[in-house]
């Protein structure tokens, strides 16, 4: 069983087998950084398949779980060898009054599998909670999703709270969700309009690079 087999197990979403093979490959002396690099490429491939809907949400979620299982095994070794690069810390949630979270969950998965640490606040999240959680974990990004036009004003409310607390410049504020737009992002002063889940890692990386 090889690294190639491990990548296949992740693509197929077999978490238990992926965990076991990761342990075996480590014992055989495979470099953990080499493994994480291969797994990252596999997950990018899975993400591409999902973006084209050649696979569906249940399949990519299983792949994500399998990747997590492998990464959990690798984590101590990665830390010993300098650690896996964390691209940024994100506080993510659906705004107050909104109970629709499928888009947020997909963004979370795509970010996590691309090297971001995500604190998922769930849905129907009070604006102040976004800010408090960002302060608590030292987040780089505050990302909020809204599926309803009447919950979009809560995205503005997050920015207003940041301004009121005098910490607006400490976070990159990202908005997304079906009714949102670049126009809305510009209007409320958000730093980024994330128009789809697939583009999120690249857009977030570009934004943090401009910090």
């Amino acid at each position: 069983m090889s690294l190639e087999n491990l990548c296949k197990l992740v693509e197929d979403g077999d978490a238990e087998e992926a965990r076991a093979l990761t342990e075996k490959l480590l014992k055989e002396g495979i470099n953990p950084l080499e493994m994480i690099e291969a797994l990252t490429k596999t997950m990018a491939h899975v993400g591409d398949l999902f973006a084209k809907l050649e696979i569906f949400l249940p399949e990519i979620m299983l792949s994500g779980e399998a990747l997590t299982a492998a990464v959990d095994v690798l984590a101590p070794y990665l830390e010993a060898s300098g650690g896996r690069q964390i691209k940024g810390k994100v506080v993510l949630g659906v705004v107050k009054g909104d109970l629709h979270e499928i888009g947020k969950n997909i963004v979370k998965l795509i970010l996590e599998t691309n090297g971001f640490v995500v604190k998922d606040l769930g849905y129907n999240v009070d604006s102040l909670t976004f800010v408090k959680e960002a302060e608590a974990i030292g987040a780089d990004f505050i990302a909020s999703s809204s599926l309803m036009t009447t919950t979009m004003p809560r995205q503005l409310e997050i920015i207003e709270i940041l301004k009121s607390k005098g910490i607006r410049d400490e976070y990159k504020v990202v908005i997304g969700g079906a009714p949102t737009s670049q126009m809305w992002a510009d209007k409320i002063g958000a730093d980024l309009y994330c128009y789809d889940a697939k583009s999120a890692p690249e857009l977030f990386s570009e934004l943090i690079a401009s910090k």
Binding site: F56, L57, T150, P153, A178
Partner: protein, 460 residues
């Protein structure tokens, strides 16, 4: 004469049902069960037939949907418990479900009925932009839709602002916006001479408090009107939603169950989307006591349902429901393109054609992926409903519908991902008079002629 249902038993079950962590419900319970049932009942999508004629598969989809609802239940996100149902519950609800309801009032009263496959009865036509609109155009747009003679019912545009204030869900601005919404809509109905017309209202209410605030038989949503209760994706509810169905029943208006199974999401592909759509009709009946089900299955990436994967799901779920129940259900079109584009007219025609022939009533038409303010007009809805009346009148077969749907798909399907956004309402309508511009009307007539040449026999 609404269907009686056991709302207190449902409320009890929402509090006392089996506990499950919400994080586990979809990936570990819903999706694996659905996948198992797709395999068990041998449901198979065929991209070559957006409007299939497979009666056996329609019956298997019905059975799969029944099993799905019974095995998975319906999750209450507030109590973290599953509302479970039995075969007996479903059978009782189906037995008492009525095949027709009288809606609206006075001279504007209409009969909303169950339809069968290849039915010669025209579909009940609810016209709706399904979109938000600038406050200054709200009443004009309501009037523009109400001016359409083919309209049997109206679901008006949604307000984002009320007297200059952004509407915030759950807050006082929502209460105000909802009252403004229904009053604009009722005033528009009176002005165009259809004071008793059936309405589904109010879309501005995202929170239950907004709906409850407009329940008034004199100035608000009347008892001859309907209101919607939605689901959370997939098979989930919350107290704020259960509040609505209980309030609608206690107030005495009709309930519509609003659901959109997502193709590419937890339902997987077309097969799962069709099964979930049928199951949602059972959920609407048993959980919410719905008089009708309003379905808008849609594509995860596009937010539309006019591509063949979705037309197949709409067609098969309609056939499953028609062959096995007397339920009433509307097919809600979601197009990729925006107003005053040829693509939007063709998408609407394909959606209405396939839906009508496979037993659906119509709810037309969300345009521009239902995403952009002011981007919807009555003219695309008119075309969809005229197609519906035409194909019913000529008793079009599924084979004929399939052939025309494929020809229409060939004209727009490749542009689904980068569809034109078209124009805003006030750019292709005279907002003061609530009438389409000449340019818009010319395009409508041109595409209608094109569709007629494909074999749709318009009555006028």
């Amino acid at each position: 004469m609404a269907t009686p249902y056991r709302h207190w038993e449902i409320i009890d079950r929402a509090r006392t049902g089996k506990f499950m962590d919400e994080d586990d419900f979809l990936p570990k319970h819903f999706s694996p069960t659905l996948k198992k049932l797709i395999k068990k009942y041998e449901i198979k999508y065929d991209p070559n037939t957006p409007c299939p004629t497979d009666d056996g598969m329609a019956d298997r989809i019905w059975q799969a949907a029944w099993d799905l609802f019974r095995e998975v239940g319906y999750y209450n996100t507030d109590s973290h418990r599953i509302i479970e149902v039995t075969d007996e519950d479903i059978k009782e609800a189906l037995y008492f479900a009525k095949p027709q309801y009288s809606v609206g009032s006075g001279r504007d009263e209409r009969m909303m009925k169950h339809r069968s496959i290849e039915d010669s009865e025209p579909p009940f036509c609810i016209l709706s932009p399904d979109i938000t609109v600038d406050e200054k155009y709200h009443q004009s747009m309501c009037m523009a839709y109400l001016k359409e003679p083919i309209l049997d019912g109206l679901c008006g545009p949604i307000l984002e602002e009320t007297f200059g204030h952004l509407i915030e869900s759950g807050g006082p601005t929502e209460i105000s916006g909802c009252i403004q919404h229904i009053q604009n809509q009722k005033m528009a109905a009176r002005l165009v001479g259809r004071p008793g017309v059936f309405m589904v209202a109010v879309g501005t209410a995202e929170h239950d408090s907004g709906q409850i605030a407009v329940s008034d038989n004199d100035w608000g949503v009347q008892k001859t009107d309907a209101r919607l209760v939605g689901s959370l994706t997939e098979f989930k509810t919350a107290d704020t939603l259960l509040n609505r169905s209980l309030h609608y029943a206690q107030y005495g208006s009709y309930t519509g169950n609003l659901t959109g199974a997502i193709y590419g999401g937890w339902c997987g592909g077309s097969e799962g989307t069709a099964i979930a759509t049928v199951a949602y009709s059972l959920i609407g009946l048993v959980i919410h006591g719905a008089m009708f089900n309003q379905h808008f299955p849609f594509h995860l990436n596009y937010g539309s349902n006019t591509t063949r994967e979705l037309l197949w799901a709409i067609s098969m779920s309609g056939q499953a429901l028609a062959r096995n129940s007397k339920l009433i259900y509307t097919s809600n079109g979601f197009a990729n393109a925006g107003p005053m584009t040829e693509m939007l007219f063709r998408e609407t025609a394909a959606h209405a054609l396939v839906s009508t022939v496979t037993s659906w009533n119509l709810w037309e038409m969300a345009s521009t992926r239902n995403k952009y303010r002011n981007r919807a007009t009555p003219l695309e809805a008119r075309l969809g409903c005229e197609v519906g009346h035409a194909v019913a009148g000529q008793k079009m077969t599924r084979e004929q519908a399939n052939d025309i749907a494929i020809r229409l798909l060939e004209k727009y399907e490749d542009n689904a991902a980068d569809a034109p956004m078209g124009s805003e309402y006030h750019e292709c309508y005279d907002a003061a008079k609530a009438l389409p511009t000449d340019e818009h009307l010319d395009m409508f007539r041109r595409i209608k002629d094109e569709i007629a040449e494909m074999g749709v026999e318009f009555p006028y």
